[in-house]
């Protein structure tokens, strides 16, 4: 008994002393970095774990505070603007950060990157490195998650039905209707052609942009989805967005009956339970499909978002057939425009910190971003991290070790590569007020249209009016300047 007690005590002491010894060598002893992000385990959970490692290496304590997704930006902005400064690092969508940069609240990370020999910036995919992390040519954000939407489909269901995955949104409607009602998980119950998040105040406004992108943008990333850069006149009240809205609403017919109340948690749980023939989602479905309890392991194919054979003529507001002149990036007459929805979770350092804390905060973000850590983290579905480095896409070893079959890993990574390197990738909003433009106005009018409260024409007219109001509120000239800058860099 005594021996057990002594043994246990020694073990406890050793456990307690070990990190202390490690931290005693750390150059950030006594430094605490407070991070604000969304609730875990997604995104936040892995930061907590990596934070422990970072503390053991450097002595810096990493504290991760979690707030509801919808309140992250508001809390961060008020904390930094009012000088409360209880947060040292914000982890959020890079698109939101333009407003923080405009307010002088975020540290320019160029000098830190210049002195960092571990971050290997050239390994980060061009879209994230040159666009997502930067504002006006300077790097203000460090990517820890690469986000854009793709389409997933059930390979077994499509094979049984003799169908090919959809290349256009018309084909998406056709195959969705055909497979709707099939029993896809052998439970004797009819399942759904597609599962899409359509709940208001959730993620539906991202999904509609994924549908609209290939109809609105055809001349490359620099063309942009939202405004005429010179006048900031919204290019939303036109036939392209109208068709996108109509396609989105038509897909309700082969979605679950309560799809209007489904957010991403609902659609993912249905997909993993094997109840969805197709899913519009970020990169997470791939790693989630191999986790315990998944009914769809090795049954999921990933493809670039469907495209359109017609694209917007901005002058007339009408759709025109895709030709070489108006669709320079089309493949077989189909214009694709994978949408960088949300842009990924990125870290920004408060400009008000002292130098040591700034360096510690940057070092932690760099540690999260470095290939040695991130190449492992992106293979685990629960982390919520999706690939953004070339090295994460080129080698399937880590993915197979994580549980993918070789074929699944190759399929998944090739769909990501196709999207990520697409010259017509559509960027999310990256101007001040981004949340108001999409998260409030676009989201609300889409929800009203889906609920049958208003017609598509009324919805688009309301969005145009709402966007104009927001632009005027923030200052048209300032917005035009930032919007133009945000479109200046293309893949």
């Amino acid at each position: 008994m005594l021996r057990k007690f002594l043994g246990g005590t020694a073990l406890a002491l050793a456990t307690a002393i070990a990190p202390m010894s490690a931290s005693a060598e750390g150059h950030y002893d006594g430094v605490t970095v407070n991070i604000l992000t969304r609730p875990g385990p997604v995104i936040a959970g892995r930061m907590v774990e990596r934070g422990e490692e970072f503390k053991a290496m450097t002595g810096a304590e990493i504290r991760v505070a979690e707030v509801p997704f919808a309140e992250i930006f508001q809390k961060l902005l008020t904390d930094w603007a009012t000088g409360t400064n209880s947060v040292d690092v914000g982890v959020f969508a890079s698109g939101w950060g333009v407003e923080l940069v405009a307010g002088g609240l975020v540290e320019n990370l160029d000098p830190y990157i210049a002195a960092d020999d571990k971050i290997d910036l050239q390994d980060i995919a061009p879209y994230f490195r040159d666009f997502n992390q930067k504002v006006e040519g300077s790097t203000y954000f460090i990517t820890i998650d690469g986000d854009f939407q793709m389409m997933y489909y059930r390979t077994d269901v499509f094979a049984d039905a003799g169908l090919e995955p959809p290349k256009t949104w018309e084909e998406y409607l056709e195959v969705g209707a055909k497979i709707h009602g099939m029993d896809m998980n052998d439970d004797g119950e009819p399942d759904f052609g597609s599962c899409t998040f359509m709940k208001r105040n959730a993620q539906s406004y991202f999904a509609i942009q994924s549908v609209a992108a290939s109809m609105v943008q055809s001349k490359g990333t620099g063309e942009g989805l939202y405004f005429d850069p010179a006048t900031m006149k919204p290019k939303v009240n036109n036939d392209a967005w109208k068709k996108a809205f109509e396609v989105f609403k038509a897909s309700v017919a082969f979605n679950p009956p309560d799809v209007l109340n489904h957010d991403i948690g609902d659609t993912r749980s249905l997909a993993l339970a094997g109840r969805c023939g197709m899913v519009i989602d970020w990169g997470d479905i791939g790693p989630l499909s191999i986790e315990d309890g998944s009914q769809i392991k090795d049954k999921v194919g990933a493809i670039i978002m469907p495209g359109s054979t017609e694209v917007l003529n901005v002058e007339t507001g009408k759709l025109e057939a895709c030709e070489a002149s108006n669709c320079p990036h089309a493949v077989d007459g189909v214009n694709f425009a994978p949408f960088a929805a949300f842009g990924g979770w990125t870290g920004a350092v408060s400009a008000t910190l002292d130098d040591q804390k700034k360096q510690a905060a940057y070092d932690f973000l760099s540690y999260m971003n470095q290939a040695e850590q991130s190449n492992v983290d992106v293979t685990m579905g629960w982390t919520g991290y999706n690939p953004y480095r070339n090295s994460q896409l080129e080698d399937t070893t880590a993915w197979v070790e994580a549980g993918f079959s070789e074929a699944s890993a190759e399929n998944y990574l090739s769909a990501i590569k196709e999207s990520l390197n697409h010259p017509n990738m559509a960027s999310d909003f990256r101007i001040p007020g981004a949340q108001q433009y999409t998260g409030v106005v676009l989201d609300r009018e889409l929800a009203r249209y889906l609920a049958g409260e208003i017609t598509v024409d009324q919805a688009l007219a309301n969005i145009e009016e709402g966007w104009e109001e927001i632009t005027d509120d923030f200052g048209r000239e300032d917005q035009a300047k930032i919007y133009s800058l945000s479109l200046g860099i293309t893949n």
Binding site: N201, A202, V259, L270, V440, D473
Partner: protein, 362 residues
């Protein structure tokens, strides 16, 4: 010194409480009033305030947010005209009666405010609900208040009356009936959302079995509103129950027994003795519930996020969404509109209905 202390001791004792009220109640009220007339932008070192006059309010009533707050107006249907004109005539007759019988300027101004609110709400419903148009968050909130409070009052009072009698296990009933009120509204929202999920909720097989597997309450505006009222009632019936139980138990048994001896039946005894006795408490309970119900935000936020469309969005939720998008000016303006509506309706209810009934009692 001692003399000075003696003289000012009262004020000194009050000072901490007054300071707290000023800091935590009056200051936010004034600050939000200022915000309601401004546009606010956060930037390094603080925020920039730009005064815009009544624009935040104008936007809600006549601008791009009109459909959101008060509804969509096209043309008023025949039913809407009949309803609107009838209620308008009744309200004008009521105020004319007041002017003729016992006119005071103070009472007249108060009634004019009530009249304006009554006419506004009447024509709001006439122009939206009764004319096939969509109503906005004010209409939805009034639905939650009127229908929700009525259900809660009837069921809560009935349960309280039953438990005030000598029935077996009434202590257990009291505890059981009281539990829902102790659960956080967010928890209640999630519980009801799960229970009503026809696709993958714990009762999805039951929904399938009763033939409602393909029905989505969340996609139907009225079903969604009713479901929220049910969840709200489930949570707040205990409040009415516990207050009314105390009221019923305070009625003197001597009176009811004397009435029984005089040959009064249970209904007559309730109507003539118990009800007049508990009426002031019942009115107060309803007033408190109505004030709370006007502020409903958690349940529609959790259960439907205000959807489908804006069908279940309350005024408080509208203000919250505006605040979340950092549109602090609009959020404050909406909050003040709600404050005005709540105060006018509740004060009118108390003065014109409750006090009038209480004064009539012998």
């Amino acid at each position: 010194m001692n003399e000075w202390l003696d003289k000012h001791m009262g004020r000194l004792f009050l000072a901490p409480a007054v300071t707290l009220i000023l800091v935590f109640s009056i200051f936010p009220l004034v600050a939000s009033l200022i915000m309601a007339f401004a546009r606010i932008r956060f930037s390094a070192g603080g925020f920039k305030v730009r005064f815009v006059g009544w624009r935040n309010f104008e936007k809600q009533f006549f601008g791009s947010e009109q459909f959101h707050l008060i509804g969509t107006f096209t043309q008023i249907s025949l039913l809407g005209w009949i309803f609107g004109l009838s209620v308008t005539a009744a309200l004008l007759w009521w105020i004319w009666g007041y002017v003729r019988r016992h006119f005071t300027w103070f009472g007249f101004v108060g009634r004019l405010i009530t009249l304006a609110m009554g006419l506004g709400i009447t024509w709001l419903f006439a122009g939206t609900l009764l004319s096939g148009n969509l109503f906005g968050t004010i209409g939805t909130t009034l639905f939650y208040v009127l229908v929700g409070c009525a259900i809660q009052f009837v069921i809560g009072t009935a349960l309280a009356y039953a438990c005030s009698k000598n029935i077996r296990g009434k202590t257990a009933f009291r505890v059981i009936f009281f539990v829902p009120m102790m659960i956080t509204p967010i928890g209640v929202g999630y519980i009801f959302r799960m229970m009503a999920d026809t696709t993958k909720g714990p009762f999805s097989n039951v929904w399938q079995w009763v033939g409602l597997g393909d029905f989505s309450w969340a996609a139907d505006p009225w079903a969604a509103r009713i479901f929220i009222v049910i969840a709200d009632s489930w949570q707040w019936i205990p409040f009415v129950f516990i207050m009314m139980l105390a009221a019923f138990e305070s009625v003197s048994r001597d009176l009811t027994e004397a009435a029984e001896l005089d040959g009064a039946g249970p209904w007559q005894s309730f109507r003539e003795i118990t009800w007049p006795h508990v009426l002031p408490i019942a009115a107060t309970v309803m007033l408190i519930r109505a004030i709370e119900a006007f502020k409903i935000v958690d349940l529609p936020n959790i259960m439907t996020s205000g959807g489908p469309g804006i069908a279940t969005e309350s005024v408080s939720l509208q203000a919250y969404y505006a605040w979340r998008a950092l549109d602090l000016g609009s959020a404050s303006a909406i909050a003040y509109i709600l404050l005005f509506v709540t105060v006018v309706i509740c004060v009118s209810f108390f003065n014109l209905v409750v006090l009038a009934r209480v004064r009539k009692q012998p």
